[in-house]
C-alpha cells in the first residue's frame, strides 16, 4: 500500500469520525483495516479522545471484535423484519397491508452509526424544512424511514448499517463509529415487548412533559400506536 493511499485512508477516517464520510470511504476503510494497523490504531485513539472529552466511563476497547460481532448480529437481524413477508402478500388481508404500509410507526432502532464522537450533529430524519418564514413548507417523507419500515412500523437503522452488513468479506472491525459510551452491545429493540415498554415510558414522559412547559397537550400526541395498556393514575 502506498503512503498516498494510506494518507487518503486516514483522511477518510477523520471524515468518518466527523460524520462527513461517504459510503465509499467507509467501505474502503473497512476493507483496509486488517492490512493497516495504523488505521486501526488511529480509530482507537479517536474514539478514546472523544470518550474522554465527554467524560464517559472508560470503554474497554480491548475486545473490539466482540463488540462488532454483536453490532453485526444486530444488523443482520434487523433486515428480516423489513423484508416483505411473502406469505402475507399472498394472503392479502387488509390487516397485512396495513402493517406493511408503515402506518403504525413505533420506535425506531437507530444504531447510532455515523454519530460524531466529538459531540456533533444528529442524523435526524427530515420532516420538512423548518419555516423561518411563516409559510409552512411542504412535507417530504424522509428516505430512511419510508424505505425501511417494518411491519410494526419501526424505522430501521440508518442505511450505513445495512451497507456494512452486506459487504462481502467485510472484516468486523471496530472502525464503525458506534458510540460505545454506555453500551457493550446494541440489542435489538424491535420486539413487541420492548416496543410496548418504550411506549409505556413515552406515555409517562408525555404526562410529565405536558405539565412542565412543553406547551401542554402536544406530548400526548407522540404516543405510538402500540397497544399500550391503560395507565392507571399513580
Amino acid at each position: 500500500m502506498t503512503s498516498n493511499s494510506s494518507d487518503q485512508l486516514f483522511e477518510s477516517l477523520s471524515a468518518m469520525v466527523d460524520n462527513e464520510a461517504n459510503e465509499l470511504e467507509v467501505r474502503r476503510i473497512l476493507k483496509n483495516l486488517d492490512s493497516n494497523p495504523e488505521l486501526m490504531e488511529r480509530w482507537r485513539r479517536y474514539h478514546l479522545i472523544g470518550s474522554a472529552l465527554r467524560k464517559e466511563r472508560s470503554v474497554h476497547v480491548s475486545s473490539p471484535g466482540k463488540l462488532v460481532e454483536s453490532v453485526a448480529l444486530y444488523i443482520d437481524s434487523a433486515p428480516s423484519q423489513a423484508r416483505p413477508d411473502s406469505r402475507s402478500q399472498q394472503s392479502g388481508s387488509w390487516r397485512d397491508l396495513l402493517g406493511k404500509s408503515a402506518v403504525a410507526a413505533s420506535f425506531a432502532a437507530t444504531l447510532v452509526l455515523g454519530f460524531n464522537f466529538m459531540g456533533g450533529r444528529d442524523s435526524d430524519p427530515v420532516l420538512t424544512a423548518a419555516a423561518p418564514t411563516p409559510a409552512p413548507a411542504p412535507m417530504n417523507s424522509p428516505v430512511v424511514a419510508s424505505a425501511l419500515h417494518t411491519p410494526v412500523g419501526f424505522e430501521v437503522p440508518v442505511p450505513e448499517a445495512r451497507t456494512v452488513s452486506t459487504l462481502p468479506g467485510a472484516t468486523l472491525s471496530p472502525t464503525i463509529p458506534v458510540s460505545v459510551q454506555a453500551f457493550s452491545q446494541m440489542d435489538d429493540i424491535t420486539d413487541p415487548a420492548t416496543q410496548q415498554l418504550l411506549n409505556k415510558l413515552l406515555i409517562e414522559h408525555a404526562e410529565r412533559a405536558s405539565a412542565h412547559g412543553s406547551l401542554g397537550i402536544m406530548p400526548f400526541a407522540r404516543v405510538s400506536r402500540m397497544n399500550a395498556e391503560p395507565v392507571s393514575a399513580r
Binding site: E56, R121, L127, D187, R208, A211, G216, V231, R234
Partner: protein
C-alpha cells in the same frame, strides 16, 4: 387582552421607576404622563423583541391552562400523520381535559385535577421566570434566542410566528405559531439546526372561550388512560432527588419532578421548552434487559445501565433532545451518596 396586560406591566414598571426616583416632588401628573409616554416608546430593538416574545410565551402557557377550548390537530413526523382531538375545560379553578387519537388504535387520555393556576418549574421557565438551580439561576433566555417571524393563518385564525433558536447543540429548536386572539399555540415545529423539522403539531380547527359542555369530556375510546393532574408539583422551585444525581445536564435544565412507583424512580428534567424523563429501576431479570437507542420523531429513548454498590440498575432516558445529549446525561447519571 394581551395588550392590556402588556401596558399594565409597562405601567407597573413605570410606577416602580417613579417611586424610586429621587426627584419625587416634581412628578406632578403632567410629568407622570410624559414619563409614561416616554417609557411606552419603542425600546431598543432586541429588548422589544425579547419582551414581546416573553409576553407571547407567557400568554400561551397561561392560555393552555386557563382557557376553555376544544379542537382537532395533527401530529406528524416522517411519514406518520396522527390526528387528535382535544377538549379542555376549567371548572371551579380545576382543569379537565380529554385528548383522543382519532386514527389508528384507540388511545385516549383523560386528565383532571390540576389547578389552573398551578405553575410548575417548567411552566415558570416558559413564562420567563428565573428558576434557582445548583447555586445559580436559569432562565429561558439564557439558552434560547427568540425571533418574531411574522404572521400566518392556521386553523382559520390569525397567528404570530416565533422562532425559538437554541444557543447550544444540546437541544432542539422550535418554530411556534400562536393565535393572536386567544394566545393558544396553533402550530409547533421541532427543528434541528434551524433548518429541518422533525415533527409538527398543527391545529386544524379550534374553538376557544365560552362554555363547553362537560359531556365533551366523556371518553370516546373503550380503553383510555386516566391521569391525575393533581400529581404535578406546583410551585416554581425545582424538585430534588435523594437517590440519584445527574452530574451533567445541558445548561438550563432543571429537575422538575421526581416520583417513584413499585418499579423504580422517575425523574423529569426540563428547560421550559424541552423535557426528558429518566426511568431508573433495578434489573430484576437480566434476560429482559435491553440496551440501545431508539427514535421516534423528535423523541429519543436511550436504554442503558448503571451499577450502584454492585447492584445493576437499568436507566432509560426518554425525551425530545438530541441523542448526543441523552448519551451525555445518561453517562454522567449516578447514584447520589
Amino acid at each position: 387582552m394581551c395588550r392590556l396586560r402588556w401596558f399594565a406591566k409597562l405601567r407597573g414598571l413605570g410606577a416602580q421607576k417613579l417611586a424610586k426616583s429621587p426627584g419625587g416632588k416634581i412628578l406632578t401628573p403632567p410629568f407622570f404622563f410624559i414619563l409614561l409616554t416616554a417609557l411606552s416608546a419603542p425600546l431598543r430593538a432586541d429588548e422589544a423583541m425579547l419582551t414581546s416574545v416573553d409576553a407571547l410565551l407567557e400568554r400561551a402557557s397561561r392560555a393552555l391552562q386557563e382557557s376553555n377550548y376544544q379542537g382537532r390537530f395533527t401530529y406528524e413526523f416522517g411519514s406518520t400523520l396522527e390526528t387528535l382531538e382535544i377538549v379542555h375545560i376549567v371548572k371551579d379553578g380545576v382543569e379537565y381535559e380529554r385528548i383522543t387519537h382519532l386514527n389508528g388504535p384507540e388511545r385516549e387520555f383523560l386528565r383532571n385535577g390540576r389547578r389552573h393556576d398551578c405553575i410548575s418549574a417548567g411552566s415558570a421557565l416558559l413564562r420567563g421566570s428565573l428558576v434557582p438551580q445548583m447555586g445559580g439561576t436559569v432562565s429561558l433566555a439564557q439558552n434560547y434566542h427568540f425571533y418574531i417571524r411574522g404572521r400566518d393563518r392556521i386553523a382559520g385564525r390569525d397567528a404570530e410566528v416565533v422562532q425559538v433558536v437554541p444557543k447550544d447543540e444540546f437541544r432542539y429548536g422550535m418554530t411556534l405559531a400562536v393565535d393572536r386572539v386567544s394566545g393558544l399555540p396553533l402550530m409547533s415545529l421541532t427543528t434541528v439546526s434551524n433548518k429541518n423539522a422533525i415533527e409538527r403539531f398543527q391545529f386544524i380547527e379550534l374553538e376557544v372561550g365560552g362554555p363547553i359542555a362537560e359531556t365533551e369530556l366523556t371518553p370516546v375510546a373503550q380503553h383510555h388512560s386516566r391521569l391525575d393532574g393533581a400529581r404535578v408539583p406546583c410551585g416554581s422551585q425545582p424538585a430534588s432527588s435523594p437517590h440519584w444525581r445527574a452530574a451533567w445536564l445541558p445548561p438550563g435544565f432543571v429537575l422538575s419532578q421526581v416520583s417513584n412507583d413499585e418499579r423504580g424512580d422517575i425523574l423529569t428534567y426540563t428547560d421550559g421548552i424541552a423535557s426528558f424523563t429518566i426511568f431508573v429501576e433495578p434489573i430484576r431479570n437480566p434476560a429482559n434487559y435491553k440496551q440501545g437507542v431508539a427514535r421516534r420523531g423528535a423523541t429519543v429513548a436511550l436504554m442503558s445501565s448503571l451499577a450502584v454498590r454492585g447492584a445493576p440498575y437499568s436507566v432509560v432516558l426518554v425525551g425530545e433532545v438530541p441523542v448526543t445529549t441523552a448519551q451525555q446525561v445518561v453517562s454522567s447519571f449516578s447514584g447520589a451518596n
